[in-house]
Amino acid sequence: MSSATARHAPEAAPSPATRLALYKSMIELRYCEKRAYDLFLQNLIKGTSHLALGQEAIAAGYGVAMEAGDYTFCTYRGHHHTLARGASMVGVLGELMGRQCGLLAGKGGSMHLTSVDHGVMGSYAIVGSHLPIAVGAAWSAQYRGTDQVAVAFFGDGTTNIGAFHEALNLAVVWKLPVVFVCENNLYMEYTPIAAVTAVEHPAADRACAYGLESIIVDGNDVEAVYRVALDTLGRARSGEGPSLVECKTYRHSGHSRADPAKYRPPGELQAWLERDPVPGYRQRLVADGVPAATLEEIEREAATRVDQATEVCKASPPPSVETAFTDLWADGGNAWRN
């Protein structure tokens, strides 16, 4: 990995409590995402879904570092980021399953997870669209004089769409409290990002075009992500303007449910599985003297929560048909004529 992070990343290790929080978050994301996969196989989740197995360290690192009032803007691969801000597993899995208990009562689905109460300001399924929206939320925070920061997570493919560039330019010109976090998992969808991008590092190499520092971080190292998160959030909060961070990572599964990811060269997945952020961090904690029993307890609790959430969702009815006709307008209805 590039050493570009060194300048701003505090070298001190996170506190023991923070380290456990990071591990707990990653475990919950991993277990819940695996459950989503299982529920697909059981046909309890319909439609599509975009799993982020392997990318937990980025959502967890930022999720733990963010303050309660901060804004998260996700892509359609947003399960992790939604959960990492504290949204309930029942709400997330229920939405994937199209149940009444879902975060959006079944009106949004996997690609639009939102929980305003937790600062999750939406998951956007048009590539790049949420970057300017995050800029707007940051503009609003600046205008209202709060210290809120907006964080937009996006994939490497987003760096080739216009909204990415328009958002970065405006954020810099207006010096807004927004952090752009690129999750470079090497593939835009089915196509390697390197095959369709003019530069080696799709986000970081574009930073200089907007007068921003080039920041690359090992996206599978949760503590590295956490340190960069603290730094970029802190800069935004103190009025120093936006940052663009490129996290190098890898998704263990295909782009979506329909994609078996046969385009990957032999051995690539295996190599990245060896760098899996979740067991990798566990080994590191154990090596640093964290009792295995402590980690096992975290794992047991997460597994129990996922099981319980699954049962609640299975027992939840589908949304009533009337739900399809509510909340187009602020008055709660959908009337377009008198």
């Binding site: 959006l104 009106k107 939102t114 004529r337």
Partner: protein, 330 residues
């Protein structure tokens, strides 16, 4: 009452609302220091400062995206897209984001924002700066569509749009900018979704929008004086919400309905009205609904060509007389 131009009424409405509500902010290309390319926002920067009146780069995605993010987090932004044709550059925000977020999130957000844009022909700007695109917007669930024809309505309906908790696409017509009219003094706010009956006749009903309204009114005078036809003229003022009650009542009373539309023919707003009227007051009709529209072509630039394709007073009169005859109800 005070006489204002259509363009000055825009700034008057924005100023009225910015004065009243600190949450109202305004952004767009050349809107501040330059006062807008149509001079609709002159003086706002000086009065409210660069914090609330913000010049943006030529970045339509960023303009609407930023407005949306601000609306989701407590502000009431007004975003200007210089020409309505440019909405095509940021249609994602109109069609996929702004209009859908409240619904998709089961009501977790409200979206109090206004997109103002200069719409319509008459300036000889050619096919990419002259379109009437109100029918594009009307096709999307979740966004209100307003298009005033007078300075008073510009002020009253723009103020109402800014206060509305839902997103509004507000079309200002380029060829009406210099027109003048009486505007009520003091605070002026109209209700969205109410058509206005501008004159009442017994033989036919003409429904028009924006720049087609003054043409429909003039055509009605010609029809009365030369053809013995007495016309009701309705200014729709908003397509969403659509005041079908007024349209149906006047159509049922006169038995004949004509729409005058600047948008191109296919799926123009009159097609929906025609469909509604046919379904809901068919037995009150004395003849088929007739739509008078711009043909289904891109707009040409030369004045002779542009004038030939946009519905003119003469063409409105001719189409009505051709189908309804002269001398009143048969």
């Amino acid at each position: 009452m005070a006489e204002l131009s259509y363009r000055d009424a825009v700034a008057a409405a924005i100023a009225q609302e910015m004065e009243r509500d600190q949450r109202v902010v305004f952004l767009g290309e050349d809107v501040g220091a330059a006062g807008g390319v149509f001079k609709t926002t002159v003086g706002l920067l000086e009065r409210f400062g660069p914090r609330r009146v913000r010049d943006t780069p030529i970045s339509e995605l960023a303009i609407l995206g930023a407005a949306m993010g601000a609306a989701m987090t407590g502000l009431r932004p007004i975003a200007e897209i210089m020409f309505s044709d440019f909405l095509a550059c940021c249609w994602d925000y109109v069609a996929n984001e702004i209009s859908k977020l409240r619904y998709m999130t089961n009501g977790q957000f409200t979206m109090p924002l206004v997109i103002r844009t200069a719409n319509g022909a008459g300036s000889r700007f050619g096919a990419q700066h002259s379109q009437s695109v109100e029918n594009w917007a009307m096709a999307i669930p979740g966004i209100k569509v307003v298009a005033p024809s007078t300075p008073a309505d510009v002020k009253g309906l723009l103020a109402a749009s800014i206060r509305d908790p839902d997103p509004v696409l507000f079309f200002e017509h380029k060829s009406l900018m210099a027109t003048k009219g009486e505007v009520p003094a003091g605070e002026h706010v109209e209700a969205l979704g109410q058509a206005k009956v501008l004159r009442r006749g017994d033989d036919i009903t003409v429904v028009a929008l924006a720049a087609m309204v003054p043409r429909a009114l003039e055509a009605a005078q010609v029809l009365a004086s030369r053809h013995g036809l007495s016309a009701t003229v309705i200014d729709l003022r908003s397509l969403v919400p659509l005041d079908t009650r007024t349209i149906l009542a006047e159509t049922a009373r006169t038995g004949r309905l004509f729409t005058v539309e600047e948008n191109p023919r296919l799926c123009g707003w009159g097609a929906e009205i025609s469909s509604i009227v046919t379904e809901e007051c068919f037995y009150d009709l004395d003849q088929p609904v007739v739509r008078i529209t711009t043909p289904h072509i891109p707009l040409p630039s030369a004045d002779a060509l542009e004038d030939a394709v946009i519905p003119s007073i003469q063409r409105i009169v001719d189409e009505i007389v051709r189908t309804a005859g002269s001398g009143g109800k048969a």
